[in-house]
């Protein structure tokens, strides 16, 4: 009997099904890796284990007894500690305070700082952070060290199951080695470790068992090392798709000057020498696993980031874009559909009309006074163009459905008639119908001469919509896929940074046949 078992777990978010009859067995003293592409249900699964999310259906059994977790605290009590990607540390408090926050040692009713420090030092040592001083405020630590503090904080609760969700994604190579040593020792101490990572070599190095998720279901569990990378990728792909994509034009490799060209863009350690070209009429995709620098790349192009090195050319002319205000100016004509429409894209309590015209007010006004007739006309035009369904343009945009909100956000930028459109995962969390309308719209815009750079976490969209796809890994472009080469296999394996010539050749052959 397994130490911890999940059986028949279902979970829906709105209309979207995140988990469908998923199950998982976790053994003590083992490292269990969980694999799957974006949106396969891994995160939801561990959130359920950690008490952050309640399942719709399904059972959890720990040491033969059925358990239920209503809150992170109750999961903690049962011995499950989770290290999330989003950090749960208190920035102004010291490392020691953070490690002992939920159960500090006390003497005479007050926190025993000496004992707390001892606990912190022990936990840090177990987590491989001996060099971190317990009195350092967390905000003074670099991200990689904070991650170690997170691990120490989890260990201080003496968990029996430790879940690491992308725990190494922010770490430098030297730190990763340390974590390996730590995790291996924890395994030998009898802890059950659940490990989610996108780095295949990490999994090969560390895992005892692997489970692959696809479409919210566990599709295979195998002993680590018994399958080749290629076989693993085959297991991960094959999602069921129900979208219809507009036909792509037969690609004519153009020799024209690209509308948007970037050369050797670098920014802090998040972007590394990225070069790209986007022609008029082209939809270029950005692929790769989430968080590999795609968001930063779009922000850098749009003039939001400070200290970007490299060059950006518009129509072959070198331009320095230092603010969104410049980026949207007629000479450049750029638009960015940001990732988080609720805080970065729209002003939810404001009306549909005011949101739509917000970016274009400059051209709808004279001497700062808004020309309401032309505003109304322009608003009606885009509402019609995108068939936005609303009870009235004076209602707050927050009252619309997610799909219609996203349409408003895109329409808002179409009102400035941009020539370059940057999109940051625009279909996340919206319904299938709206998605299809957006695919049609993108193609229509491209056909009318816009240059489109489109980041999506959904591989099917990249395959269905894009003429070319740049796959990012760790802030750099790892691969460029063109036309028929854009396959799920190629996208997933390059996103995981598995580059084997023979596999690629094989994939091409398969397509050719």
């Amino acid at each position: 009997m397994a130490f911890f078992e999940m059986k028949g777990v279902f979970k829906h978010f709105g209309g979207v099904s995140a988990l469908q009859n998923a199950s998982l067995n976790v053994e003590a003293g083992r490292v269990h890796a969980i694999l799957g592409e974006n949106g396969a249900g891994k995160s939801t699964l561990i959130k359920i284990m950690a008490g952050v999310v309640m399942p719709d259906e399904g059972r959890m059994i720990m040491e033969g007894r059925e358990v239920q977790f209503a809150s992170p605290a109750s999961a903690n009590q049962a011995g499950i500690a989770c290290i999330f990607q989003e950090l749960s540390l208190l920035p102004d408090l010291s490392v020691a305070d953070n490690i002992a926050i939920s159960n500090p040692p006390k003497r005479f009713g007050l926190i025993d700082r000496r004992a707390q420090r001892r606990i912190a030092e022990e936990a840090l040592a177990r987590a491989g952070g001996q060099d971190i001083h317990p009195l350092t405020p967390v905000k003074d630590l670099p991200l990689s060290r904070r991650q170690i503090v997170e691990i120490a904080k989890a260990l201080a609760r003496s968990p029996r199951i430790l879940i690491l969700d992308e725990a190494t994604s922010a770490l430098a190579a030297a730190d990763v080695d340390k974590i390996y040593t730590v995790l291996k020792r924890l395994r030998s101490e009898g802890l059950a470790l659940l490990y989610i990572s996108h780095r295949m070599q990490e999994i090969a190095e560390l895992a005892d068992e692997c489970t692959v998720f696809r479409n919210g279901r566990n599709v295979a569990t195998y002993k680590a090392g018994t399958k080749s990378d290629n076989e693993v990728v085959e297991l991960m792909i094959g999602r069921e798709y129900s979208h219809v994509f507009p036909p792509k034009p037969s690609v004519v490799p153009s020799e024209r000057t690209p509308v948007l060209e970037a050369r050797e863009l670098s920014w802090t350690n998040r972007l590394k020498n990225i070069s790209l070209k986007v022609n008029a009429g082209e939809v270029v995709g950005l692929g790769g696993l989430d968080g590999q620098g795609q968001r930063e790349l779009l922000l850098a192009l749009f003039g939001v980031l400070r200290g970007v090195s490299g060059e950006i050319s518009i129509d072959g002319k070198h331009e320095s874009v230092t603010s969104p205000h410049l980026a949207k100016s007629p000479g450049i004509g750029m638009a960015l559909i940001p990732e988080d429409r609720k805080t970065e894209g729209l002003m939810l309590p404001m009306s549909v009309r005011h949101n739509l015209s917000f970016a274009a007010l400059g051209r709808l006004s004279r001497l700062g006074v808004i020309d309401r007739a032309s505003e109304d006309a322009a608003v009606d035009d885009v509402i019609h163009l995108l068939s936005i369904r609303t009870d009235g343009t004076n209602n707050p945009v927050g009252a619309l459905s997610g799909g219609n909100q996203q349409k408003v956000l895109i329409a808002k930028w179409l009102m400035v008639t941009p020539r370059i459109i940057l999109l940051n995962d625009p279909t996340r969390g919206i319904d299938v119908g709206t998605k299809q309308e957006l695919y049609q719209l993108l193609r229509k815009l491209a056909d009318s001469g816009a240059a489109i750079l489109f980041y999506s976490t959904d591989y099917a969209e990249l395959i269905g919509c894009c003429d070319r796809v740049l796959v990012l890994y760790d802030g750099a472009v790892k691969q460029e896929l063109i036309g028929p080469d854009i396959t799920e296999h190629a996208l997933v394996s390059s996103a995981l940074n598995i580059t084997s010539k023979t596999e690629e050749a094989g994939a091409k052959l398969a397509i050719g046949a």
């Binding site: 208190l90 102004d92 408090l93 926050i101 001083h133 350092t136 939001v304 980031l305």
Partner: protein
């Protein structure tokens, strides 16, 4: 060595406030040896302690990432109350003192309850409750007057043997009895945690609501100590709206000068005490530069303006301009 660096780093802001205050003080004393006698120091210390108590009250609320615009009014209300009930025999006086402190704590707790359970913004809540507290003060003392147990008053506002101002010793005891245990208790740390990042605090199972309620109540308690002390200095109670407003504004200034972050989660009431003493000394420093006393408020204002602008140095480190905007 290394160890000390971290120990000092932990209290960097407080130490900085202390050093700046010390510097000002030394400049003042070295230029005015004649003005430096026990009586002058005692008067200055009493004024400083008044603001220091109110600044401590403000600090505890600011630590939760809130603000209390009613501290000045609680200060005034308890002053008026004390001028009625802190009189008579030893027992009566003691009961009176307890009554005053309890009233202050209740005022603070009321602010806390409205903010936490009424889910109103601290700033508007305390504007409104401030009006209520001032109204109560006015009801108690429509005209200035009253009395206070003068033995107690004199012993707390006078000098100890050796010329040490008794008020400073009293302040020290308040820090020792209230602030230090609070800072080192679990609830005190919860206050810092809630102010630092409410979401992370929730994820870590910190009792956020309880922490905030304690913070607001303690703030009321400290403000009432200020009110009590004001009564000891003036021997009377006065419901002065101008005084209340001034102390509220000065308490925020002292908190900022004392290195307490207005975004919550960082700083110490001890820093705020030095901030208060600093703010008081700035005015007196003008004598050193032979400026007319008339220039004192302007000088205070400009120092405050420059001090708060210094914080913007952090803007140069921001690499993603989105981080500039909430």
């Amino acid at each position: 060595m290394n160890e000390w660096r971290y120990r000092i780093g932990e209290h960097r802001q407080t130490l900085l406030a202390f050093i700046v205050f010390l510097l000002m003080f030394v400049i003042y004393v070295s230029n005015h040896p004649a003005g430096f006698n026990a009586n002058v120091v005692t008067t200055a210390a009493n004024k400083g302690v008044l603001l220091a108590l109110v600044a401590m009250a403000q600090t505890i609320v600011v630590l939760t990432a809130g603000i209390d615009l009613s501290v000045g009014m609680v200060f005034i209300l308890t002053n008026c109350l004390a001028s009625w009930i802190v009189v008579g025999s030893l027992g009566m006086t003691a009961l009176g003192v307890i009554g005053v402190l309890l009233t202050g704590s209740l005022c603070g707790a009321l602010n806390g309850l409205i903010v936490i359970y009424g889910r109103l913004q601290p700033i508007v809540t305390t504007i409104a409750t401030g009006a209520i507290y001032f109204g109560l003060a006015l009801a108690l003392r429509p005209v200035p007057g009253g009395d206070v147990n003068s033995t107690l008053a004199d012993s707390l506002t006078g000098q100890l043997p050796g010329g040490i101002p008794a008020s400073l010793v009293a302040l020290f005891i308040v820090v020792l009895v209230i602030w230090v245990p609070f800072r080192r208790s679990e609830i005190g740390r919860a206050v810092y945690a809630a102010g630092s990042s409410e979401i992370a605090a929730y994820m870590s199972g910190v009792p956020i609501r309880r922490a905030k309620l304690v913070a607001y109540s303690l703030s009321g308690l400290l403000a009432s100590m200020g009110g009590l002390f004001l009564t000891f200095i003036t021997y009377s109670g006065e419901a002065s709206a101008a005084n209340g407003g001034t102390y509220t504004l000065y308490s925020i200034a002292a908190v900022v000068l004392g290195g307490v972050s207005l975004f919550g989660g960082a700083g110490s009431a001890i820093g705020a005490i030095f901030g208060a003493l600093m703010f008081r000394t700035i005015g007196d420093l003008l004598f050193v530069f032979d400026l007319e006393p008339l220039w004192q408020p302007l000088f205070q204002g400009i120092v405050l303006l420059v001090a708060v602008s210094l914080g913007s140095v952090r803007l140069f480190r921001i690499r993603n301009r989105l981080d500039l905007f909430g």
